[in-house]
Amino acid sequence: MTQPSRLAARRTRTAWLFLLPSLLVLLVVAAYPLWRTFQLSFYQVSILQFPLQPEWVGLDNYRFLLADPYWWISLKNTAVFTVVSVALETVLGLGIALVVNANFTGRGLMRTAMLVPWAIPTVVSAQMWRWMYNDVYGVVNDLLMRAHLIAAPLAWLADPHLALPGIIAVDVWKTTPFMALLLLAGLQSIPRELYEASTVDGASPWQQFWQITLPLLKPALLVALIFRTLDALRVFDVIYVMTGTNPTTMSMSVYARQQLVDFGALGYGSAVSMGIFLIIALFAAAYLVSLRVELD
């Protein structure tokens, strides 16, 4: 009786020993900064003071946050950006993955070429798109005018109705390849025999997709969705480069940066960061639960 339980205890101890280094790293790079941010969020402290003079303000920063219309606008923008961009990237990514999973000549070249947008640093591609969207000399207006789709040049990034859709389009252009790559890996793990057997049974490609491909792709699809959603919720660079701190497109991270860097408000900025952390943690938890359910 005692033998197996002692063995179990030893195994547990060994497990902890192996986990210790990564736990330590997590403590230093994640838990400690998070704890400091949490502490700072109860102070009013400006980066512009030398030396710094933190002043305890209790929950004032959180009250200001909940009452600030621009925080809610940035939350809404982030939600719209996340839902629309992830949905489009998933659908397009799945389509591309299905195509490059098929056998055709030049497949290797195709798979490499499709990664180009993903390989360009976001700051560079966002700046490139900003020029392409320019109302006076931008190539987007030029092409649309030549094709007689628009009568007059559009101010893509200045018009509040066009700016966020324009930015989402750039993100979709950039990130669809990543989605396609993740889904392609999932597709390749589906055994070919299933398709052969179903073909023999007379299933149409359409039925094969819904009955075989999609159910078996589900785990890969979920992982890809988690990656993209968490990434999209933190979106910063593409928006900051293209429209700066303009509220019509401002995301949560752009808002946090404006408080921390432009206004030097370390205390309030920390409260904003805690808000973002809570929202993302909520999503991560929800996904983890659903993932466990799905994978079990």
Binding site: L48, A67, A155, A158, T248, Q258, D262, G264
Partner: protein, 424 residues
Amino acid sequence: MKSLRYLAVAFLAVAFGSATSAQGVTLRISCGAVGQELELCTEGTQAWAQKTGNKVEVVSTPNSTTDRLALYQQQLAAGSSDIDVYQIDVIWPGILSDFFVDLNDYVTPDLVAQFFPRIVAANTVDGRLVALPWFTDAGLLYYRTDLLKKYGYSKPPTTWDELEQMAAKIQSGERQAGNGSFWGFVFQGKAYEGLTCDALEWIFSYGGGTIVDQAGNITINNPMAAKAIDTAARWVGKIAPPGVTSYQEEEARGVWQAGNAAFMRNWPYAYSLGNSADSPIKGKFDVTVLPKGGADGQHAATLGGWQLAVSRFSKHPKEAVDLIVYLTGYAEQKRRAIKGSFLPTRPALYKDADVLAANPFMGKLYDVFVNAVPRPSAQTKQKYNQVSSAFWTAVHNVLVGQTDAATSLRMLEQQLKRIKGKGW
């Protein structure tokens, strides 16, 4: 033998002595890069370097004042000694004063007295002189003399409504004549500090105040201010290009200097560039004071301008102060006024015949420059950046047609009250 040793010591002393003085120190200065700024700054600092045997490296910074301030804040808050001399905006002494040396410890009162007292006051925080004024700025109306004549106008507009009518007439005429990309008026409409300057001019000219008054009260939510902003919003897409809501100074100058605008609101730096040899509008334009808001309004020009400050983290504060004294000196400011039409910060230069010959407007508009309207940075202190950001956002929302001015200003008032909290 002994004398030989003395000789050797003397020789070494001379060799080392001259080596250290020839080497000097290396200073880094951050300069703006709008228009000819960078070129003039490099020339000026190199002249000082040659004179003193020191070295100066010029660090160029973002064109947007807003981005530049963010960069400076990060450098300074990190206690970095990378940059010795900072070129700072007239609205920043209150924000950044903790990070600069008190120049009173280095320069004499006689020297300080040679500058405009009002600008010196703007650079003095709690009795500390944190920067020396390098050039001042005021918003001006640029207009095409040839086009005004062609369409039968004898003088530039005196009210904004007049400007709108003239711009519309010239624009439609020029477009019929074949220039499809011609616009009546360009200005700075992007959501950044420049829009705060432009919008303050509109509002002040209509008698709508200065956002926050001298005593620190929030005054922006008033009908005259709303009227001024609604008027400006009407221009967008009609006499100003739709993209004007994403223009900074250089974008506006780009349209103007290509000959594609009848009017432009900009700072004086665009004057000498517009008259440069390869400019299509050379000799075809003039500048004047910005229009009034209606017949009983007043002319208004926002006070701009840049100063030079020495970082408290500089390893060579003495040499750095010497550099800024040189750059803000009579001779260097004269050179910059003639070559780059930068407004001097020394009253004496406005009587200098060479300066006036190169820039006739400097004598003519002297009163505009000394009476320019300051932004409310003195009242709002370290919160100025937040106030300005809330203000330009509210104005931008109206310019792009998301809301009307009355609603936007009502929201802005609430926002400013929350930023103010218990006090500025």
